[in-house]
Symmetry: C2
Subunit: 144 residues, 2 copies
Amino acid sequence: MRAYTHIMTNGPILSDCYCAALRTAARRSTAIYDEALVPVGINIAQFALMRKIARAGAPSLTELAAIADLDRSTIGRNVRVLERMGLVEIATGADQREATVTLAAAGHDTLRRALPLWQGAQDRIETALGGVSIDALRTLLGAL
Amino acid sequence: MRAYTHIMTNGPILSDCYCAALRTAARRSTAIYDEALVPVGINIAQFALMRKIARAGAPSLTELAAIADLDRSTIGRNVRVLERMGLVEIATGADQREATVTLAAAGHDTLRRALPLWQGAQDRIETALGGVSIDALRTLLGAL
DNA sequence: CGCCGATGCGGGCATATACCCATATCATGA
DNA sequence: TCATGATATGGGTATATGCCCGCATCGGCG
């Protein structure tokens, strides 16, 4: 009886399609985090990418793509946006084919100022979901 | 102790950021459904949108945006892509400001042929997640 | 009945994302 | 050392998505 079942939510109806539901959830949470990060001028995708860069040190675009589970070309473009914003620096590696990415000073600063804003969004989501759902989310994401 | 905890998955590491995790999950499932739908030439976003159009009958762009929980301008563009593909028709409503969308014959046909492919992807996801996670996903999405 | 705020869209602009092809650089075997 | 296959990017193309602004149409009030 799963077909054509719907879930009422704050907003409109969530589809019975798992994928559509996930996409909607991703869009909604993205909007929440993006708004929280407005004061520091970056969005959640950029925040997440910058954290990955910070953790990895000076990854190449290909390495970063693997870490972020994104297409390499996507990483290249996203990183260029951050470069234009002065938040990261792109340099040629020892292997001249490679482009290594590092956080610029402004990037570290932005990341530091963004952290509490991000944490605020995290807390809001956590409160909204409740502990049980949180664990479920983790399990679910791990399985996907 | 939630900060800086990670989950190992098939692929890379899933962030402790709920939003980043959801975005990753959405991308991954999108890829799965998109591949399943390749034979009929549409992607999961288009499939979902077409189903909403079919269910709504002849919604205006604004109505469709409300149903899909998407920005109106996004709906306008996505619908135009479907129109170029010959899958939907856009007409001016009684209110000349409104643009009403209906499935074209080819759209109904594509939707019909897509259904079993979509169901296959649904089943695969369901199997991968297991019943418990499924319910958790629904609960979670409802709360978001 | 005409003016004005409200409503519905389109288009401009920007990011995120993926796929494919061309180019540059490496690395390795002959 | 040199040709060749492998690897790292960049750029083209296309969809998805959101925000903002301008234009056209509606509707109701004076």
